[in-house]
């Protein structure tokens, strides 16, 4: 019975010590499944990836496997193909994302008006976004085929001559960006449309009474109020565009040569074609760092805005 005093703390209610322990720690217990999932699906693979990136390792035991410390990263920085891939990744993003934002904004403003068959128009606009990227890639590749594709037919009808599209090393990145713009502008529009629809009516009413032009209303009311939505869309699209994979792999496999081999595509090749698992892990770690830096940068910009 000497232990009784120590137990009293655990027995304020009937039902045993477990339920009281639960009571005290409930704020840890509820998120536990989510934490476990996060750990198993994100943190563990990430740690494993970091370990792999310090090794020179292949999928086969027939090839050497040894620890190289930061050797893979040193190798990446000396690898012209890594720099080319990084450059192309930014080139692709810097063509695709600004145009998407611009077109998405225009589309959102258009969709925000009252019009007939509003639901139908909105659904139609969203179609590209809900298509499978692989299917999108295959169809665009067919349309861009220099010998058989329909796009050259239109160019020639307009008297603009033929284009090699994906076969021209200078055109391939803009051509791929075009596909990305086609597919993802609707997402930007959707986010911005949501932003537009949650705006209060009062400031617009006041502006009308004060005689503001529609440009002034946009510049001084809509634009500032739309900032949160704009930054949300920008962040999502930047992250996605930097790590674009499916469209590029389906349409060009990084070619011709490596004129469209972005970092993600290069990592795929070193991993699944060259079987260099360790080097691939280090490339993907670098990609992760780049994407994280960009995302944080955009976030900082937002706070300033």
């Amino acid at each position: 019975m000497t232990s009784a005093p120590t137990r009293t703390r655990g027995q304020p209610r009937p039902g045993g010590s477990f339920s009281s322990w639960l009571d005290r720690n409930i704020r840890w217990v509820f998120p536990l499944p989510a934490l476990a999932a996060l750990f198993a699906l994100t943190i563990l693979p990430l740690l494993f990836n970091l370990i792999l990136s310090t090794q020179d390792r292949s999928v086969s035991d027939a090839l050497p496997s040894r620890s190289v410390g930061l050797g893979n990263f040193v190798q990446a920085f000396q690898d012209p193909r890594f720099w080319n891939a990084t450059k192309l990744m930014f080139e692709f993003t810097l063509i695709a994302v600004p145009l998407q934002m611009l077109l998405g904004l225009g589309l959102a403003l258009l969709l925000n008006r009252h019009m007939r068959a509003q639901g139908l128009v909105r659904a139609a606009v969203l179609l590209p976004m809900i298509s499978t990227p692989v299917a999108v890639g295959l169809i665009w590749a067919l349309m861009m085929d220099p010998n058989l594709g329909v796009l050259n037919y239109f160019l020639q009808t307009l008297g603009l001559g033929r284009s090699l599209w994906l076969a021209d090393p200078r055109l391939v990145i803009p051509a791929l960006a075009l596909v990305d713009i086609w597919q993802w502008t609707p997402l930007v529009a959707l986010i911005l449309l949501a932003g537009l629809q949650t705006m209060p009516d009062d400031p617009f009413e006041a502006a009308r009474i004060d005689g503001a032009s529609s440009w002034q209303a946009f510049r001084y009311i809509t634009w500032p109020l739309l900032q949160p939505a704009l930054f949300a869309a920008l962040t999502i699209r930047l992250i996605d565009a930097l790590k674009t994979f499916d469209i590029i792999e389906v349409m060009t496999q990084g070619g011709p040569g490596n004129a469209s081999e972005t970092l993600n595509v290069y990592a795929y090749h070193t991993g699944f074609e060259f079987l260099r698992v360790g080097y691939t892990a280090s490339l993907l770690t670098l990609l992760l760092v780049i994407v994280a830096v960009v995302a944080i940068g955009v976030n900082l910009l937002r706070r300033q805005a």
Binding site: A62, L166, A167, G255, R276
Partner: protein, 428 residues
């Protein structure tokens, strides 16, 4: 004389009797389920409808998964590199993965099964397989699989155009270049189409290289890409494409080459014999019926085609190896080889090419002749013999693309050679 008659009758009986009548107990593994990974290949399309026959014969259930080639290769690689315990039999392209898989110890050596009298029917007839095809499955002393179909390179040409402009069918590479020059621009066609898409072009470049008397590697196992004969062959290959080929050659692999030909926009191309099924099919080709076939033209060093093979292999990690062997054996028997040949998939058994059933439906003896005449002298090394085939193909492919875009041949080949040597130095 009577003895001979008896002998004939006996061999006739043996040939007619189904394989299961032999010593092999086909139902020994009743109730087993075999997991098969297959490439979406004409062979698979031809054979899959007959799989229930095997299930009925053996009581073994087949769980079959098929994937398009790129995904298929990856799927197999990932499964084998993680032990391959859930995988029993799968398709393997030895010229691509044979060396790596053999060195890694991922595949069973087929010779041990073929030699096992309890598991292999006497009339299965291993000696019936083309020797060069069997050789093309052997890497590192291991027979990595049993061949199921084979391909050799061939010259596909438009009979109507060649006749119209009175051009003889090329027997040499020089004649082929002359024909490409003569036909380029005529009737709106390009003179020739070849693969120009980096890595995929390397395998189709190999017969050009062999025909110039060069090799992938030097005697001491280093890349041989700056060998003068190699450079000459490369100049011919890329020159043909640059001068008489379609403008987007750097993006073209076999689907693009065959579809361009099937649309009637190319006078000729060289690629694997199997593609007859695409370019001569009235359903998919506007030039069906006008396609001529010739053996791969001879170069300065003679006629040197390659032979590629798809084989059935057994995973080292499999728990049902004997049952998997029964399947492999059944799938490659005479009856099934005839079945695939009747659907235009080049068979690996000599006997079926002479089968009356095939002779009767044979629409193009020219193709058969071109294909068979090449098998004896064919080289199985349509890829450089290194474990890291993908990386080396990529390095050489980069050079091919660079040359097609106007770069300096020797400089680009030298760079590919250095890259390849550094890859080779890491192996072992």
């Amino acid at each position: 004389m009577r003895n001979l008659t008896v002998l004939f009758a006996l061999t006739g009986l043996l040939a007619a009797a189904p394989a299961q009548a032999q010593t092999v107990k086909w139902d020994a593994y009743k109730g087993t389920t075999l997991r098969l990974l297959l490439n979406q290949h004409p062979w698979t399309t031809a054979m899959q409808p007959y799989f229930p026959e095997f299930e009925k014969l053996t009581g073994i259930k087949l769980a079959v998964e098929t994937y398009p080639e790129a995904q298929f290769r990856q799927k197999v690689l990932v499964e084998l590199s993680t032990g391959g315990q859930n995988l029993d039999a799968f398709m393997l392209s030895p010229g691509q993965e044979g060396l790596l898989y053999a060195r890694s110890g991922w595949v069973e050596d087929m010779k041990t099964y073929i030699g096992n009298k309890n598991l292999t029917a006497g009339n299965w007839g291993f000696s019936d397989f083309f020797p060069s095809v069997v050789r093309s499955t052997e890497y590192n002393g291991i027979m990595t699989g049993v061949p199921i179909q084979t391909e050799t390179p061939m010259l596909f040409y438009r009979k109507d155009l060649f006749a119209k402009y009175n051009i003889p069918v090329p027997k040499t590479l020089a004649q082929m270049e002359a024909a490409a020059k003569a036909l380029n621009g005529k009737d709106g066609v390009f003179g020739i189409a070849l693969r120009g898409k980096g890595a995929s072009a390397t395998s189709q470049f190999s017969p050009y290289m062999f025909s110039y008397g060069s090799t992938w590697l030097t005697r001491d196992g280093q890349a041989n890409f700056t060998d003068p004969k190699f450079v000459q062959a490369m100049n011919l290959y890329t020159g043909l494409l640059r001068k008489y080929g379609p403008p987007a050659a750097v993006t073209m692999s076999w689907p693009e080459v065959t579809s361009l030909f099937a649309q009637g926009k190319v006078a000729m191309f060289t690629d694997a014999s199997l593609f007859r099924s695409i370019v001569d099919d009235p359903k998919s080709s506007t030039v069906a019926g006008k396609v001529g076939y010739a053996p791969f033209p001879a170069g300065p060093a003679g006629r040197k085609p390659y032979v590629t093979t798809w084989a059935l292999s057994i995973s080292k990690g499999s728990k049902n190896k004997e049952a998997a062997w029964l399947f492999t054996q059944w799938a490659t028997n005479r009856q099934n080889q005839l079945r695939v040949l009747l659907q235009d998939v080049p068979a690996v058994r000599r006997s079926v090419w002479n089968d009356p059933a095939f002779k009767k439906q044979e629409t193009n003896p020219e193709w058969t002749q071109a294909h068979l005449s090449q098998l004896a002298s064919a080289n199985p090394l349509w890829n450089p013999p290194v474990s890291q085939v993908g990386e080396v193909r990529d390095a050489l492919g980069q050079a091919i693309v660079g040359i097609l875009q106007g770069g300096n041949t020797v400089d680009l080949l030298k760079r590919a050679e250095q890259t390849t040597n550094s890859i080779i130095s890491k192996e072992k």
